[in-house]
């Protein structure tokens, strides 16, 4: 842990506390409902970016991991519901459980598919949501296709209504996700991830344990997504498989990261704040279908026109070094450059099969 992580943690905690205090002052429960969704997407997009942005592996299964966390909560709820004291399991514990289960599934998925080309991982995650939905539909204990009702308590302790408590928890989770993302980005782990993204073959040749690093990334990313999903049943009150495992989460997480910029933890944060608030606005004023169409369209436009997202645009405007290293300090630049240099010298250029136009026939 570098020295500057502690101040960053304190600052983000302070901002989180300020946001919560501000919402408490406004006093309207709508802000908590809307804020919960935005905070949830901060966790999801940051989690997505750990694998997608840092390693360059696309995960379309955000909804799968998210739903896994949500349904682990439902399963626990069904287990304790018959007891005399319902809600004996505190939500932070459920969050940990959801994270654990999703992390294990992420590890398993990665182990089966990450030894192959990246596209296979993407396709497998795409199918994951469908399969998890099938499992849940066939599992009557958690409600099957009818869905499950969760009765949340009206109020809790000194905070007031329950949704405020949920918002507080999600805010803490968002702060945690941002800190994890930033920590990874600036650690040896992050440099390892960057070598995988830039040239996996060269990284492997240079002695980077690529498979192990990728497994770490899928596990952390999956666990964070599961944690974001665990409190969701208490938030929504009625959980249904087809909407829980829908594409909305996946497309939102990807769009927010790519629109913000994937090279740094700041990107998903910017993307989520912009897109998340815009979505809340459109859902309230127009309709939720239009809001989804807008997200899809923005995603396509951004990947074509501004492939490095808002961070890339800002960076181009400031006219500095290539976009990859925006938001990092100089020392990080040097380290990454050194890593790239070692990688480049270690691997002969002809060893890259993907570069078809230039490579001679075997």
């Amino acid at each position: 842990m570098s020295v500057r992580s502690i101040p960053f943690l304190l600052v983000t905690l302070a901002i989180g506390a300020a946001v919560f205090a501000g919402a408490m002052l406004l006093g309207n429960d709508y802000y908590f409902f809307a804020g919960y969704v935005v905070a949830q997407y901060i966790v999801l997009s940051s989690a997505w970016n750990i694998l997608g942005g840092y390693c360059g592996y696309v995960n379309f299964g955000t909804a799968g991991f998210f739903g896994l966390g949500a349904y682990s909560t439902v399963a626990v709820y069904q287990l304790v519901e018959g007891n005399e004291f319902p809600h004996v399991v505190p939500i932070p514990l459920l969050i940990l459980l959801g994270g654990l289960i999703s992390g294990v599934v992420g590890f398993g998925m990665g182990y089966l598919t990450l030894r192959l080309r990246g596209a296979f991982f993407a396709i497998a995650t795409l199918a994951l949501a469908v399969v998890l939905e099938t499992l849940v539909v066939n599992w009557d204990f958690v409600g099957g296709s009818r869905g499950a009702y969760i009765v949340r308590p009206e109020t809790i302790g000194p905070i007031g209504s329950y949704v405020r408590y949920l918002f507080l928890l999600m805010l803490v989770l968002a702060v945690a996700a941002l800190n994890v993302a930033r920590l990874i980005e600036r650690s040896r782990l992050g440099y390892g991830f960057a070598t995988i993204r830039d040239d996996e073959l060269a990284a492997e040749a240079a002695g980077v344990p690529t498979l192990r690093l990728k497994l770490v990334a899928t596990t952390i990313s999956g666990a964070l997504m599961g944690m974001a999903g665990a409190p969701f049943p208490y938030y929504i009150g009625y959980l249904q498989p087809s909407s829980t495992f829908g594409f909305d989460y996946a497309v939102n997480a990807i769009a927010m990261s790519l629109i913000g910029g994937t090279s740094s933890w700041v990107g998903p944060l910017i993307g989520t704040l912009l897109l998340g608030s815009l979505q809340q606005l459109i859902t309230v004023t127009i309709s939720s279908a239009v809001n989804l169409l807008l997200v899809g369209a923005l995603l396509v436009v951004f990947v074509i026109v501004a492939p490095n997202g808002i961070l890339g645009l800002v960076h181009k405007y400031l006219q500095r070094k290539p976009d990859e290293f925006v938001g990092r300090r100089r020392i990080d630049l040097d380290a990454a450059a050194a890593a790239a240099a070692t990688a480049a010298t270690a691997a002969p250029p002809a060893a890259k099969p993907g570069s078809a136009p230039g490579s001679p026939p075997p």
Binding site: A127, V130, I254, V303
Partner: protein
């Protein structure tokens, strides 16, 4: 205990028929993902688009859905060519196809689906045709025509595709572009043009597959999702880019799904293809008839 033999035979027969249809759904991805290395995950969305075009024209003019899909083939080909041109300019040329190219197709998939939802709603739509309804009976084996006709047309389509790929100049150029673009350039062939043609063909097959789909079952916009896992499972199992492999794998998956649906219940069927996909990736990534 009576193990119902006729149930088993019926399940296998309907699995083979459905498999023929799956082959038509997959052959576009076999071309784009298997040969061109373009991970077009939006293919199921284009198939649903094909279904809705067949539905609209069928409902207003009473045309045969499969005939409609043949009529609109050129439009789908053009759509594919345009998408490839955008893809090439925005991603392939810049060498960013892996991450952003995937996001691009995912966005297309999503936009198509949401647009269809906004325009047609989420009601199930179906078409009218003479062969929807009657069933042929061979002993105790039932062959519904609504599945037999798409299966036969689909096998014809794949036979034609295979002939084009192996016999014609364009087809051989398409096979070559996957292996060595430089050699193709030395033959004075523009690889980008060849890829554009191939991708156009791959999207054009979605028109036919869409018509087959809406003949076989009622369609609503999110039906395509079930096909993502299935299509790529078949493509990988068959061996990337091998059309005969695609047909064999499609029938295998059709049979396994049909058996699962018959003996465990239809709600389990979507999990089958994913299980097979993971198993294939873990055990034999080259697929059944793979070259790599």
């Amino acid at each position: 205990m009576i193990f119902s033999f006729d149930l088993l035979v019926n399940a296998i027969v309907s699995g083979i028929l459905i498999g023929g249809f799956y082959a038509a759904v997959t052959c576009g991805v076999s071309l784009s993902f298997g040969i061109l290395d373009i991970v077009n995950i939006a293919q199921p969305a284009f198939i649903i688009l094909g279904s809705y075009i067949a539905y609209t024209l069928n409902a207003s003019f009473g045309l045969d859905p499969i005939l409609i899909s043949i009529i609109v083939l050129p439009a789908f080909y053009l759509l594919g060519a345009v998408i490839y041109q955008i893809y090439y300019l925005a991603f392939e040329r810049r060498g960013q196809e892996s991450l952003r190219g995937l996001a691009f197709f995912f966005g297309l998939l999503f936009i198509t689906e949401v647009t269809l939802v906004l325009y047609f709603g989420v009601d199930y739509r179906y078409v009218q045709a003479a062969y929807i309804g009657p069933t042929w009976h061979f002993g105790w084996v039932d062959v519904p025509l609504r599945i037999l006709v798409p299966c036969l047309v689909s096998l014809l389509l794949i036979a034609v595709l295979q002939l084009v790929l192996t016999r014609s100049f364009i087809g051989r150029a398409i096979m070559a572009v996957a292996q060595d673009q430089l050699a193709l350039r030395l033959m004075a062939v523009n690889p980008v043009r060849i890829k554009r043609i191939a991708f156009g063909i791959s999207i054009a097959t979605a028109s036919l597959a869409g018509a087959f789909l809406i003949v076989i079952q009622p369609v609503e916009p999110s039906v395509g999702r079930e096909y993502i896992g299935r299509v790529f499972a078949i493509c990988v199992l068959g061996g990337m880019g091998s059309l005969p492999g695609t047909v064999i794998a499609a029938m295998l998956i059709g049979i396994v799904e049909s058996l699962t649906a018959t003996f465990y219940g239809p709600s389990w069927a979507p999990a089958v293809s994913f299980g097979i996909l993971l198993l294939t990736l873990a055990v034999r990534p080259a697929g059944l008839l793979g070259r790599r």
